[in-house]
Amino acid sequence: MYISDFKYFKPTSLDEAVKTLSGCVNGTVLAGGTDLLVEIKNGLRKAGEIVSLAKVSELKTIYVTQEKVEIGACITHNELIKSPVINEFLPALSEAASKIGSHQIRNVGTVGGNLCTGASCADTAPVLMAYDAVVELLSVHGVRQVALKNFFFNHHKTNIKNNEIMHKIIVPISKNQRTATFEKFGLREAGSISVVSVAVALEFNENICTKANVVIGACAPTPVLCIFAGNLFVGKNKPEISDDELLETAAKAAVEASIPIDDIRASAEYRRRLLYVLTQKAAAEAIKRANVN
């Protein structure tokens, strides 16, 4: 296997990075490279120019205020797992990151890369969507923010343009109590792609569920926010949403929202069944956490 020659740029600031990218004819941004280099080696992608983000320090910070957590797009999965900020405010993101690839992959692969690859099975996507994340995209023409739920168009097709770089992922911090969970089903215990994944985030105000996001992964061309499923929880109190029947109904709604395919890992039908089980499990766990806190 080999990688064809390309022009290599190594900007040292975000400003320089977007300018460099805008000057490229067939430019690609290189973050961790764990997806990009595999695609190039497999002949699925060609890059005339590669703009490495390795030296762009603005992309490697995690910043927290009272309202939000801002995660630099080039934060690696292992950095997410170890970050005290993430573990305090977005623990389910840390859990999701810990289930990606292998330790070696997690040392290099980045959260921004995970999102920009645009795979429906990306493990950080459902949980960040559940957390109402917004991504900030930058180009020479300016900055724009896109809600993550609107970021994914299709399998490997996202809202990011060729001349844009993902700067950061912005996750609001709720004033209410918020709990979230991530459940993943892989075919072996480690290093496996999600066959189905589910993230659930619940917010409570005075014991009443005020917001509920149920997001499913690997069950459609993109991760899907299952609005009907979430709405079932809203307005109910903690004992009410712990009801098994409600969980089953929500799981059915998640299955309704899915458009799974048959592929090498599973059949569509089996995915639906898994989704039904995993949704209940994820929601139950989120509720359990809410009851503990």
Partner: protein, 932 residues
């Protein structure tokens, strides 16, 4: 254009100009020649290339050299300080955590980064931490132990010694029967061991193959002109440039061309070969070769392929694509079934799995100016490569030198000649330069030779007391496009059912059918695992029907020593009953079977294999294994020259132990030179689990000869008779009074001074006339047979169908374990490999015959995180035909697992799954089928 980087590797600063596309892995291996870091998959799935970059473990195949600019890199070569092994390396050596050694550097580096961060991990944390580093040999068990031990060393503690109770047959032996680290382990732990791809010869070219994109097509024309015109290309060869000789593995079925002559028969068939100054140019050249094909209808399902009118792969042979047909009938099955109280029949399906050794195949060929070619290769079988090359090239064996380098695992995938070996020679001849060829992971799958997919309809009858009265097996083996080992696989699938249990009435109908898919061949347990899976499953089903315990029905029918089977195989030593009793006790079977909650299950399976095939692959009268020992003139060391191949299983060490025991010296006094056709005497190599028994006998006999030569000298020096002497632990002494002794080296030196070179030679051939007289009677014959029993416990998630294997308890009759540490390693590795086959592995093809998962990303093999608890042991046994009573374990250990695991799952969910792999979906479907 090249760019400058500054990088520190193992403490040394480098300023280097690199091509943008160069990976850190290739920078280390090809530019800095630090070849300890291994290339396994190139896509970040296997972890063999793990290095530590700025304190973090990374897959160096997924890091550009340019990305590493300014960083500090630590590789396996930088770990040992001042020549002393790092405690992790030491622990890996001592604990037997290294077999083929190909995953070792990556595994060690990952362990280093992990322990730097977590100095006192739990076992589960270790399993999780290493789960990005795949190992195909060890089953991870000894690796986890080694990490535990390394923790002790690094915290300044001495690890606990493992208490090992020697077998009775090894009680009085000094070297044999000892748990000793492998001789090659320190080199493998430190990255020094040289594998074929680590070698670069001066002026060397690289070669690549053009593979067919179509499953079945006529070749109308090939235009190579554009490829030949590409700068850097030195040779392009197609079918017209190579002899018309066909080649293969089994002489009755030599049906492969060196390069396709008229048609291609599967996606991956070899159409053309290119040599150029680097691999990238090779690949560009391959793109420029224009092949015009006329596509033909293809067939992928063996059941379809057998039908009249199905597309034919070979017009001139194999009617109905039936490549091999076996029809055996021993005793009288109709009578047997009539005598049975219960008769049951079921159809089982075995999956198409691939050996996946961690090291990809590689070969380097170089011609000298005297018409002699030298080939370095990663092979299990130097002699068969030697023989086949001699046939194809039409030159005598003496003009070909086959050198086996270190081999990063085989499991059957390297048990025959391959295209790289042949075509590197042709390309080297044409260019006058050395040529290296290597497969990438995808090309390995396409070359194939993995386990045959099998459709097995098994019918068995038992009496009320559990006695098996008749067995009828019909097996259809999906062969892929060519024969490979397939004739033998088909016979093995039948013959080996008769070695574990006693029954007199047996009918076997075997069909091997060609399909337009990669050829299937010999994989660990050769042809036998799926019939054994079917048999062990059906036996347990029958036990349920007659209300008998699964252990009891096995004990009732279990093989006993010195038995002549219905298909004329002669069983010698046999402790199967002891194995069954052992696992029954270890697993607490009697308190668990039938008493576990829903979702938990326990199952038993038995297995066993030949200790070397009774007959060679092609007809010859040569002894199967041969050894020469040469003792240094000062007597300080002996060198064992042996043709058999250490592919990681540890045969160099085991054979050295046998030779050392025979001579009376310790293991540190012996060196081994193996598997080099110019230097070592003929050995058939590592297949059919033959090396311990056959190579061991040859080595022991060579050692005996040395001892017999020096005893008269010692007798004279001690003033005693030869008969009064014994040799052990580097001393020759009087049996009656061991205080009267003389040092072994003194005697050896004295011998040399008076007589010239002190040498010994030994050879081994199986007894003549093994087996019956019927067609195919040779397959299944062996000087000895191994036996094993396994109990497996599982937990099944009843909502998702996912199976978690909790425990394997297994016991082996391998005769005397020459090296119990190596035996445990074989058993643990076999267990995890077979578990992986049952639960995860499956080659998947689309409707065009293209493989959809030719990588380690979508073709899943077990990781350390999937590893169950394994409790493996050997029972007391002595095999008279084996060296010091030894026989095989490496393949036999695979066989019980399929049935044990399938039975455990059936026990857990109350429904049986008949086709492998047993995926979560199938389990859930089965659970749901029961609900309705």
């Amino acid at each position: 254009m090249k760019q400058i980087i500054n990088i520190n590797v193992n403490g040394t600063d480098y300023e280097l100009a690199v091509k943008p596309g160069l990976t850190l892995l290739d920078l280390l291996r090809e530019e800095l020649r630090l070849t300890g870091t291994k290339k396994g998959c190139e896509l970040g799935d296997c972890g063999a290339c793990t290095v530590i970059m700025d304190g973090k473990a990374v897959n160096s195949c997924l890091v550009l050299a340019l990305q590493a600019d300014g960083s500090n890199i630590l590789t396996i070569e930088g770990l040992a300080e001042n020549g002393d092994m790092h405690p992790i390396q030491r622990a890996f050596v001592e604990k037997g955590a290294i077999q083929c050694g190909y995953c070792t550097p990556g595994m060690v580096m990952r362990t280093k980064s992990f322990l730097d961060e977590y100095p006192s991990p739990t076992k589960d944390e270790i399993k999780d931490a290493l789960s990005g580093n795949l190992c195909r040999c060890t089953g991870y068990t000894k690796i986890i132990e080694a990490v535990d031990t390394a923790v002790e060393y690094m915290n300044g503690r001495e690890p606990k010694e493992i208490e090992y109770q020697p077998q009775k047959s090894a009680m009085n032996l000094a070297v044999v029967g000892k748990r000793l680290p492998k001789l090659d382990a320190p080199d493998k732990a430190t990255g020094r061991a040289v594998y074929t791809d680590d070698i670069v010869l001066p002026n060397m070219l690289y070669g690549k193959l053009l593979l067919s994109p179509l499953a079945h097509a006529k070749i109308i024309s090939i235009d190579t002109s554009a490829a030949e015109a590409l700068p850097g290309v030195k040779a392009v060869m197609t079918g017209k440039d190579v002899p018309d000789t066909t080649w293969g593995t089994s002489p009755p079925r030599y049906d492969e061309f060196v390069l396709a002559k008229d048609k291609v028969r599967y996606v991956g068939d070899v159409v053309a070969a290119v040599a150029a100054i680097d691999e990238e140019i090779c690949k560009h050249a391959l793109d420029l070769i224009k092949v015009e094909y006329e596509e033909l209808p293809a067939v992928f399902d063996p059941l379809e392929a057998m039908k009249d009118g199905a597309p034919r792969l070979f017009e001139d042979k194999y009617d109905n694509n039936i490549n091999t047909h076996v029809d055996h009938h021993f005793g009288d099955v109709e009578k047997g079934f009539a005598e049975a109280d219960v008769v049951k029949e079921a159809t089982f399906v075995g999956n198409r799995v691939y050996q996946n050794p961690m090291e990809p195949h590689c070969a380097i060929a170089e011609w000298d100016r005297h018409g002699k070619v030298t080939i370095y290769t990663s092979t299990q079988v130097v002699h068969y490569v030697h023989h086949q090359l001699s046939r194809i090239l039409d030159i005598p064996l003496g003009n070909i030198r086959v050198i086996m380098t270190n081999c990063g695992g085989g499991f059957g995938s390297k048990a025959a000649t391959n295209y790289l070996e042949i075509l590197s020679i042709f390309l080297a001849k044409k260019t006058g330069r050395p040529v290296k060829m290597r497969y990438d992971r995808k090309e390995m799958y396409l070359y194939g030779r993995g386990r045959h997919r099998q459709f097995i309809t098994l019918k068995m009858g038992v009496k009320k007391d559990g006695t098996i009265s008749a067995v009828h097996q019909k097996a259809i083996l999906e062969g892929g496009a060519y024969s490979s080992f397939g004739v033998v696989s088909t016979y093995y699938a039948g013959s080996m059912l008769a070695t574990l249990y006693k029954f007199q009435n047996y009918k076997y109908e075997g069909f091997r059918v060609n399909t337009n898919l990669p050829p299937c061949g010999a994989m660990r347990g050769h042809g036998t695992p799926f019939p054994r899976f079917a048999f062990e499953s059906l036996l347990s089903m029958l036990a349920d029907e007659i209300g008998m315990d699964h252990v009891e029905i096995r004990l009732k029918n279990a093989m006993t020593p010195d038995y002549h089977t219905c298909n004329d195989l002669d069983i010698g030593s046999c402790e199967l009953k002891a194995c069954i009793e052992r696992v029954r006790q270890l697993s607490d079977w009697d308190n668990k079977k039938g008493k576990l909650p829903v979702g938990r299950g326990i199952g038993i399976g038995c297995g066993g294999f030949v200790s070397g095939a009774g007959y060679p692959i092609y007809r010859s009268q040569f002894p199967h294994s041969n050894a020469i020992i040469k003792v240094e003139e000062d007597g300080s060391k002996a060198v064992l020259f042996i043709g058999d191949a250490d592919i990681g299983q540890g045969s160099d060490t085991v054979l050295a132990q046998a030779a050392a025991e025979a001579m009376g010296i310790t293991l540190d006094k012996i060196n081994v030179v193996s598997a080099d056709s110019d230097i070592t005497p003929l050995g058939f190599g590592a297949y059919s689990s033959r090396v311990t028994l056959m190579g061991g006998n040859a080595s022991m006999r060579a050692g005996d000869e040395v001892r017999e030569k020096i005893f008269p000298v010692a007798a004279a020096m001690l003033g005693a008779t030869v008969e009064a002497l014994e040799a052990k632990n580097n001393k020759i002494y009087l049996k009656e009074d061991s205080s009267q002794f003389i040092a072994w080296d003194v005697v050896a030196k004295e011998y040399f001074s008076k007589n010239g070179p002190l040498t010994g030679k030994g050879h081994y051939a199986p007894p003549e006339g093994l087996g019956g007289k019927y067609k195919g009677a040779a397959v299944g014959t062996s000087p000895a047979y191994s036996f094993a029993a396994t109990v497996c416990a599982v937990e099944v998630n009843m909502e998702t169908g996912k199976v978690k294997v909790l425990n394997f308890w297994d016991a082996h009759d391998c005769g005397t374990a020459i090296n119990p540490l190596a035996v445990e390693g074989q058993a643990e590795g076999a267990i995890v490999m077979a578990m992986s086959e049952v639960l995860f592995e499956d080659e998947v093809f689309n409707e065009k015959g293209e493989m959809l998962n030719p990588d380690l990303h979508n073709y899943l093999i077990a990781t350390s995180a999937d590893m169950p608890n394994i409790d493996s042991s050997v029972v007391d046994s002595y095999e008279p035909a084996g060296p010091f009573g030894a026989k095989e374990v490496g393949e036999g250990a695979t066989l019980p697992i399929f049935g044990a695991l399938a039975n455990a799952i059936a026990d857990a969910i109350g429904v049986r799954i008949y086709d492998l792999p047993i995926t979560p979906k199938k389990v859930l479907d089965a659970i749901n089928s029961k609900k309705i």
